[in-house]
Amino acid sequence: MSRNVHVAGSLHEEGENIGLHRFALFTACSTAFLIFVGGLVTSNQAGLSVPDWPTSYGWNMFTFPYSKWVGGIFYEHGHRLVASFVGFLTVILASWTWLRESRLWLRVLSLIALFSVITQGILGGLTVKYLLPTSISMTHACLAQTFFCMTIALAFFTSPTWKHGLPRVQDTHQGIALTTLCALTTGCVYLQLLLGAWMRHTQSGLAIPDFPLAFGRVIPDFKDYHVAIHFAHRFGAILVVATIVWTFTRLWREHRQNKLLLRPAIAMLVLVCAQLTFGALTIWTEKSPIITTAHVATGALILGTSFLLTLRAFSMVARETEWQ
């Protein structure tokens, strides 16, 4: 029989380990901030401003004097420190989960997250050592998004809401299942982020210099691969908007009363509007660093929100046949 205890001013059931959930949430938020900081590095073309790794201009990373954080060094060295902080958080999160969690699959997930963050650190070092090769830089960018999703999953599965058992929702729609639709949206967003990383790391961000048209046309001449990558990212944006609107409409029509599902869908819709604006502004301002970074960070937030909605959908929604 469980009993209620006070934790940080709230009532929680013993055994929920609300501390672990909050820590996982903090790690997820820190990861979102890390992606923003990583975006600043690329947007300011500062990826190689510290030529050595893991040292910084020969200094230990943690004792590098602040007075030397000038120009691009501020972004690159700052990124390394925030990344180290997130790595440190992940070590604690994995240890905490392993020691206090009874669910083996969750313990394994925390270890995968730890392995991912270590791999991510090594990839970051390799980008410096090998002068930003596209393949490594892209892998670094995509693993960042994947790791972000892992931290969201850890926060979700350790949440009291999940442990108490989420309300069950019946999916009576005859077409595509809601769970599939949510997963499809998340997949589209992830692929779009991959295209964005490809575009960013091949310096194709301004390969098409006008917007909304492309060289004054709807479909440009694909004179080189930069234009093709850039255009693919624009086309991907249409697919992402379409899937998000589709998901939102479906939830609004059929599950409006369910806030756990509707809220992330609304957030996605708002974020994707902001993202389109940032995308257009990226072109119109010729890649202003702060706008470009906002575009990168908002992309990550859309993925995170879509992924959370997908987790909730899979945890809550059942088809009519499964319902009985």
């Binding site: 300011n44 073309q45 500062a46 990826g47 190689l48 401003s49 510290v50 030529p51 050595d52 201009y57 020969g58 030397k68 000038v70 120009g71 691009g72 060094i73 501020f74 690159e76 002068l131």
Partner: protein, 254 residues
């Protein structure tokens, strides 16, 4: 590995210098083995001249002022972008070089002159320079701040090295021809320079008013003028011994 490469390059230069007949590398280059000129290194005298102006046609862009506030160590309030520098109707920082004709298939001694690329006032001096394959390039930090030297080489081996304080020098050599080889500083993302690396010594950079002058042996050559932003142009010239040829190039505003 880098040190070994440097030592090998240095020894090669010294060995070549030891075998040379003169201190002036321009006096004693001859045809390569198996070249059109037959056996023996017949001395070639650089007694001909090609000169001219790189004309800029159209409205010169307003020099774009660069904000250096991200680094207090820069303190250069008079810094402008150097991607299109126009003076007296002429375009500066254009690399002019022989790209074909009578130099084809010939080899030339490497100049021992040490070229310098200085980081001064948080910009590169000069903005464009030419150098021979194997010729030493001294890269200097004259600023009270850190720079990194990042050569975005596509043909040669790229490198990225730090120069954390004033007075630090680095010597580099390139082992293959490459035009243009961009050099940039990632700490100060406005800083960039361009290097033309050639097997031969017949190259120069346009200066004030777009003027240039190139000493070369008599012959018929293809000459190329290449700019970092406005592309390249070619022309054929024939110049006699002790003669001079005027060859202008015109680049249009984009």
């Amino acid at each position: 590995m880098r040190k070994s490469l440097f030592v090998v390059c240095l020894l090669s230069v010294l060995a070549y210098a030891g075998c040379g007949k003169s201190d002036d590398p321009f006096k004693d280059f001859g045809p390569a083995a198996g070249g059109n000129g037959g056996g023996g290194a017949a001395p070639v005298v650089t007694n001909a001249t090609v000169k001219g102006k790189i004309v800029f046609e159209g409205t010169a862009p307003m020099p774009k002022k660069i904000a250096t506030s991200s680094d207090p160590g820069c303190m250069n309030n008079d810094l402008y972008a150097e991607d299109t520098v126009v003076s007296d109707g002429g375009l500066e920082n254009v690399i002019i070089y022989l790209s074909g004709g009578d130099i084809t298939g010939k080899s030339f001694p490497v100049s021992k002159e040490v070229k310098t690329l200085d980081q001064h006032g948080c910009h590169y001096v000069p903005h464009a320079l030419t150098i021979q394959v194997g010729q030493p390039l001294k890269i200097v930090n004259s600023d009270n701040t850190a720079h990194n030297i990042h050569a975005w080489a596509m043909v040669n081996a790229p490198f990225n090295e730090s120069q954390s304080s004033k007075g630090v020098e680095t010597i580099k050599m390139f082992d293959k021809e490459e035009v243009l080889l961009p050099v940039k500083c990632d700490v100060h993302n406005w800083m960039n320079a361009f290097i033309g690396v050639f097997k031969h010594p017949f190259s120069t950079v346009s200066g004030k008013g777009g003027a240039y002058e190139l000493k070369l042996p008599a012959g018929t050559y293809e000459i190329t003028a290449e700019h970092e932003k406005l592309g390249s142009q070619k022309a054929m010239i024939t110049v006699a011994a002790d003669g001079s040829v005027d060859q202008n190039f015109t680049f249009k505003a984009q």
